[in-house]
């Protein structure tokens, strides 16, 4: 029986990737949840906003890299991030002026805004592919690992390795910081509260002297920041490919919903729920079992509850079960 190896194996293939993926989803879900919370619609363009923002960051990163600027052990992309955020913010505000504002003033039903965001999604999608192309783009540099599997093995002498990538670390830390800041901002600052007031009752917000355009402006700026950060971190960890970002939309929405729409803490919780349900339920416990159980009992099969084919099905099933018990998500979200 070898609990240590079992633990390390489990950590390496379930805990660490689950945590990192959860943080990635959470960052994306934060943006979705914020738009839902304040502008009251599900923004289908969010995945492509992430791609769009990341595209700017990549272009600027390439610029930096060719100019020989680097950020030491950290990815250069982090340096480019503020510029990317600014550009994305400008674009989003422009989009709002040209597109969303009209519908907001007409007080259309949220579902119309959802369709409008679908239109915006198509356009952003096209623009991204037009500018940077549909292909994989690599822009990661800097130190790749905090600790690699091989180093871990030599360090500890264990059979199993434990790898933690620097991007995973950065993502997790960023997610925690961002949610804390956002929570503080929305619940404690005047501007944040005015944003919530606006989302609650637009007319009454006017009567309190809150400037709706200002609120909308802040919202898009924050969304731009969230989307760009999320997209960039994701791209650093995996790779940048516009189509994947579009596909990310689904788990991101799932995360936002299971946590409770409009609630930043919910987005974080939701991200981890989705990530871990994907990674854990379909995990084959053969290896862990082999370490922990006596030989006689060791599994000869894979000891896998369900094949990985069903990982999405499983995460959605868990989502539905959570919703059945908590109809507005783990953290009591809003609904329009």
């Amino acid at each position: 029986m070898d609990y240590l190896n079992a633990l390390v194996a489990f950590a390496n293939f379930v805990l660490v990737p689950g945590t990192a993926y959860g943080a990635q989803l959470a960052l994306g879900a934060l943006g979705v949840t914020l738009i839902y919370g304040i502008l009251r619609f599900s923004n289908f363009a969010h995945g492509d906003t992430m791609a769009f923002g990341t595209m700017f960051v990549i272009l600027i990163t390439w610029g930096f890299q060719s100019a020989g600027i680097s950020f030491g052990p950290l990815p250069t992309a982090l340096l480019a991030l503020p510029f990317g955020i600014a550009l994305t913010g400008l674009f989003l505000i422009g989009t709002d002026k040209v597109v969303y504002q009209f519908y907001r003033q007409r007080k259309v039903k949220p579902v119309v805004l959802v369709m409008v965001s679908l239109g915006v999604m198509f356009i952003m999608n096209g623009l991204t592919r037009f500018i940077i192309g549909p292909n994989d783009q690599r822009f990661a540099d800097g130190e790749r690992f905090i600790i690699s599997a091989r180093d871990f093995k030599t360090m500890t002498g264990l059979d199993e390795g434990l790898a933690i990538k620097s991007t995973q670390g950065i993502t997790l830390i960023t997610a925690i910081i961002v949610v804390a800041v956002l929570f503080w901002f929305l619940n404690k600052t005047r501007t944040g509260k005015s944003m919530r007031a606006f989302s609650d009752n637009e007319d009454l917000a006017l009567l309190s002297g809150i400037n709706p355009e200002r609120v909308v402006l802040y919202t898009w700026l924050i969304v731009a920041a969230l989307a760009t950060v999320a997209g960039t971190l994701y791209g650093l960890d995996k790779s940048f490919k516009p189509f994947t970002y579009f596909q990310l939309l689904l788990p991101i929405f799932a995360a936002a919903i299971v946590g409770g729409l409009g609630n930043p803490l919910g987005a974080i919780a939701g991200g981890f729920v989705i990530a871990f349900s994907e990674v854990t339920i379909t995990y084959a416990f053969k290896k862990v079992g082999n370490y922990v159980l006596p030989d006689a009992l060791a599994p000869d099969g894979l000891a896998q509850l369900l094949s990985t084919d069903y990982k999405f099905a499983v995460s959605f099933a868990i989502l539905i079960i959570v919703l059945l018990f908590k109809p507005t998500g783990l953290f009591k979200g809003q609904s329009v």
């Binding site: 509260k193 609650d200 009752n201 007319d203 002297g209």
Partner: protein, 278 residues
């Protein structure tokens, strides 16, 4: 309860409330001017919605040449049957609806074109009849939102609201949407008081509040008015309201039907019978 929370602005003369410069009653009609000058005629009421006509969206006119006004430190009460256009008139004064004809002037300045939030900045506050609270925010946050434009310390005003509506203090951290009907109404009025306005517009503030709170509220309104703040109020509890009113308007089908002092209207048998329930 001290008055100084409301004495910061616009409190020029405490006696104003008792000795209005403009005689109440029919005299307002005479001041009615079409193409009103930006600067109103001297002696004009502090806030006046002058000969307003307008309706919702592109719908028909609901207000027809409707005038409502209130002097500094006075209480003006609008009564009328359901659907007469009272709330519409209030919204028109607050710029939440297109005024197609006529003008709104505050302290002589034409504010017809201003957005609602700009009017808030000019010292107007409004409690709408329906959806008048932020349901998902706590009671205290509702009050804070009322004071959104204020930069000074608002804690004192909050305490005053709690003193006026003690129940709210115990519900401070509860979402306002979970309150009872009467409690919500109290939050709504409290939110408007938080602005420390120069003009306070209330659309049926006492609907659904218990008698004891209603008395408190009317008392408070009188006190507030005495500090020089103008109060424009729609009421269905018309008898109590007209009793404390300096001026009363009876609106019917978007038109001014009767305009007189509160007491005079109360005494008018026709008004009593048709609009005040006998």
């Amino acid at each position: 309860m001290s008055d100084d929370a409301y004495s910061g602005r616009g409190n020029k003369d405490v006696s104003l409330g008792k000795n209005p410069k403009t005689p109440v009653g029919g005299s307002i009609e005479t001041q009615k001017t079409k193409n009103a000058p930006t600067k109103g005629a001297p002696g004009e009421p502090y806030l006046i919605g002058d000969a307003m006509s307008g309706g919702y969206g592109s719908g028909p006119d609901i207000l027809h040449d409707c005038t409502i006004a209130v002097n500094e430190g006075e209480i003006a009460v609008i009564v009328g049957p359901n659907g007469a256009g009272k709330s519409t008139a209030m919204k028109a004064v607050f710029g939440m609806l297109d005024v197609r004809k006529g003008a709104v002037r505050l302290n002589g300045e034409d504010i017809t074109a201003l957005t609602p939030q700009a009017r808030v900045a000019k010292g107007m506050a409004f409690v709408p009849q329906t959806s008048n609270i932020f349901t998902s925010m706590t009671v205290e946050e509702n009050l804070e939102m009322g004071a959104f434009l204020r930069r000074d310390d608002i804690q004192k005003t909050i305490d005053q609201v709690y003193e006026l509506f003690p129940i709210l203090r115990s519900k401070r951290l509860q979402a306002a949407g979970e309150l009872s009907g009467g409690q919500r109404q109290q939050v709504a009025v409290g939110r408007a008081l938080m602005t420390q306005p120069k003009v306070l517009m209330l659309d049926e503030p006492t609907a659904g509040v218990s008698p004891i709170v209603m008395d408190e509220l009317f008392d408070r309104i009188i006190e507030v008015a005495k500090t020089g703040i103008s109060i424009l109020m729609v009421e269905q509890n018309a008898r109590q309201a007209l009793e404390i009113a300096d001026k009363g308007y009876v609106l019917v089908q978007g038109r001014n039907r009767f305009t007189d002092t509160g007491q005079a209207l109360l005494a008018d048998p026709e008004v009593r019978k048709s609009f005040l329930g006998g």
